[in-house]
């Protein structure tokens, strides 16, 4: 019995999948572990659903299927993912390249059965497969806890700092630890974050200014002053010239 979770923003599309699952029950026995109308709703319900396979539409409001899959990948006992799409040429190419499974709408019963069997055997996709297939940066970072997934909206993040094997995610209100590499984060969020130090990325929008520190004798260095966080972060000498230009650009606008 495969536990299947269905996410699609269109009610008829969810109904159709359920009908098809009923049709192939003799061949591939399944049970509906849950369903949701978009990525955010799915993330609330998935962790306690016991889902083994996630059937996820790609184009959904709130949070799309691909970002959903990326957050789900961090879960303990993460389900396998089969994307379902009507027509997203770019997404399909990316799936092919990264060995991710997908179904085209309207879905055929035989294809669905095959995809479910394959997914149940293969298990959850790796986070790197998913991130390579993604066309746009995530809108949230996620922390997988035991029975839930905590989402941190990227636009609320002030800075990201690498510490040992974790990255600290600092918002105005809180701090979270995530297991991701700072280099990958820098690449993904290059538009909204800038590196100020070997171990630190800062939200461009949060930079209020720079301060000089250190006395006359020791070599002076710069610190970044941030919106909403009292902590000052050191700017490495290597990053300073680039940052200064960035600030000059901002001021001249």
């Amino acid at each position: 019995m495969i536990q299947v979770f269905i996410v699609d923003d269109e009610e008829p599309a969810r109904e159709r999948l359920k009908e098809l699952l009923g049709d192939i029950a003799a061949e591939v026995p399944t049970r509906i572990a849950g369903e949701a109308r978009n990525g955010l709703e799915a993330l609330e319900r998935l962790p306690t659903s016991g889902a083994q396979v996630l059937l996820a539409d790609i184009r959904m409001p709130g949070m799309d299927g691909l970002e959903l899959a990326r957050h789900v990948a961090g879960m303990e006992n993460a389900p396998a993912v089969v994307f379902v799409t009507a027509h997203d040429q770019h997404a399909i190419e990316a799936f092919e390249l990264n060995a991710l499974d997908y179904l085209l709408k309207p879905v055929r019963a035989t294809r669905l059965a095959a995809a479910l069997r394959k997914a149940a055997a293969a298990g959850a996709p790796r986070a790197e497969q998913l991130s390579r297939a993604a066309a746009s940066p995530r809108e949230y970072l996620s922390v997988a806890e035991r029975h839930r997934i905590v989402l941190v909206p990227v636009r609320e993040i002030v800075f990201l700092r690498a510490e040992q094997k974790y990255v600290t995610v600092r918002t105005r209100a809180r701090e979270h630890l995530i297991e991701e590499s700072l280099i990958a984060l820098e690449r993904e969020f290059a538009k909204s974050f800038v590196r100020i130090h070997r171990n630190c990325l800062v939200a461009r929008a949060a930079i209020r200014g720079f301060e000089r520190s250190g006395g006359a004798e020791e070599e002076a260095h710069w610190q970044v002053v941030l919106d909403g966080v009292s902590e000052r972060l050191p700017v490495s000498r290597r990053q300073w010239p680039g940052l200064r230009e960035l600030i000059a650009d901002n001021n001249s606008k």
């Binding site: 599309a13 159709r16 409001p61 709130g62 009507a86 709408k105």
Partner: protein, 335 residues
Amino acid sequence: MPSIRQNAYPDLLPDFRNLGVMARVLVAVNAVALVGALYETSGFAAAFERFMQVAAFLEPLLLVDLIALSALSTLLARLPYWPGALVVVALAMLLAGGYQALVLALAPPAAPGLERTLVLAALLAAALLAYFRLHTKAFSPALAEARLQALQARIRPHFLFNSLNAVLALIRRDPRRAERSLEDLADLFRTLMADARDFVRLADEIALLERYADIEQLRLGERLRVIWELDAAPSDALLPPMVLQPLLENAVYHGIEPGTEPGEILVRIERRGERVHAVIDNPHREQANQRAGNRMALDNIRERLALFFDAEARLETRAAGGRYRVEIEIPYRRK
């Protein structure tokens, strides 16, 4: 019936009611007068003075010509090209001659000779007709055709496959509704694949909008609410096909689908004097990567409106207060 089927009627008289055509006639005739004045005199000041003299004589005649042509345009459009062109030239000569006689009666010394006026009027009319013929030809066959074809192919595959999927989901639960939806879909695609060079009646375009909205409703359920304000819509007005449907499709695609909450689309079409005014207004969601497609659709529609109405059509968009609005204004034309 007005048409831009230039292949079937390779030569078509210009539409004399069109402001663009009138403007071109005014500019061209005055330009000729200016050239003549420059040629005749030795300095710019003298040329200007001479031009003003000529213009004082010319302008009233020109206006009378244009009024006469626009009044006769429906009749002229029924004639084959060459007889029609002859009528236009003869009309220009007749009016010029009559005008000349009138001016002679009022102020004898100011008027030039009659033969010269008649010949000038005939030459100018013929030259302008030749210009419009070339203009139509340059504008039409390959270029216009290719654009129209490209436009017809523009319905989103996303829409087709999702709609088919939604209908499939209906077949077991509600076969009758499924049947109706497939019929709607068939109508929609029939129109899409039809000859896009002829005008359609507004009533038919509205029926198409309603079918399209029904299909989307099936998919999106309560997320989509369409408010129709069509009581003042002139059902006999003529417009190019597939002008309003792409706008409604855009409204659903950009305004409703990206939202988790239900949204409202307003469709209002009304007659304002001799103009037809259409508004499509939807929730506006900031998503940078979607704008490009939207702008392309709008550019296509704008281009097509220009093909059909020249300078007399207007398309404007406005984003404010969380709403996005497209407004179209076209001349009110009937059969």
